[in-house]
């Protein structure tokens, strides 16, 4: 059974809370960033800009941000740049980043994101 935790996303400041999911001690966003090649760092900075703007309750273009069709009532979000994808869910406080990936592994990543989401939400059930 994985251990879940959450923490503030490093680097952003916003009106709503931006959180990243930690699974067994591994931050999903920070781990993704640490493994990124240098050529993707500029896109990562952009995606942090999108996340921050979204948490400041600003609209984002459909080419940068999408609300996915969730099977339950817990909203799912996708932040996009040319190559990167960051997946989040809505929380009471703001948004929780659960998984990150690349454009070319999108359908596989969305399935993985939803599996993580399900396990995390079930861990909150009393």
């Amino acid at each position: 059974m994985p251990k879940f935790a959450v923490r503030d996303i490093e680097g952003i400041q916003s009106k709503e809370r931006g959180l990243e999911l930690i699974i067994d001690g591994i931050g999903q966003l920070s781990e993704f960033e640490s493994e990124l090649e240098e050529c993707y760092k500029s896109e990562f900075a952009k995606i942090l800009g999108f996340i921050e703007s979204s948490l400041d309750r600003k609209l984002l273009p459909a080419t940068k941000f999408k609300i996915l069709k969730s099977k339950d009532n817990c909203k799912e979000y996708e932040f996009k740049t040319k190559h990167l994808r960051v997946y989040a869910i809505k929380t009471i406080d703001g948004k929780l980043i659960c998984f990150c990936g690349f454009k070319n592994s999108q359908s596989r990543d969305i399935n993985k994101f939803r599996a993580i989401k399900k396990r995390y939400l079930e861990s909150l059930l009393s």
Binding site: A5, G11, K41, E43, K71, D72, L124
Partner: protein, 141 residues
Amino acid sequence: MKREELIRRKEYWITKIQIDLFNELTKFLKENKWTKAKFAEELGVTKSYVSQILNGDFDHKISKLVELSLAIKKAPVIKFVDLNVVDNRVKQVAQQTVVFVLEKNSVRQDFSRTIKATKQNDNYKFSKDKDTKYLTVHGDC
């Protein structure tokens, strides 16, 4: 990416400006019930140029930014702030502690409250509980 690094990356600031411009233009079009085509015609530009802005991809000359701002009845006020000032604000925020609550095999975030959930069919209902009778630790998990 630490805040100090993020605010020193041009992509971050370009993104913020693009998003602000997108928001202002979207708001203007909605309030005035203009289509993209009408706006393009009024501005004397192509529809694809307007689409570019609405895709958050505007990256043209300063004069174009000014033209666009005035077209949507906005003054493009730009304020330069010393990076050290922005950094200091970050350091103040960083002093807040993120508190984690440990409970058996699950770990929850606690900001003087506990988040609980119940589920019915596929619907989750979240609630906040002010009761904090848990062991708390500070720092990374």
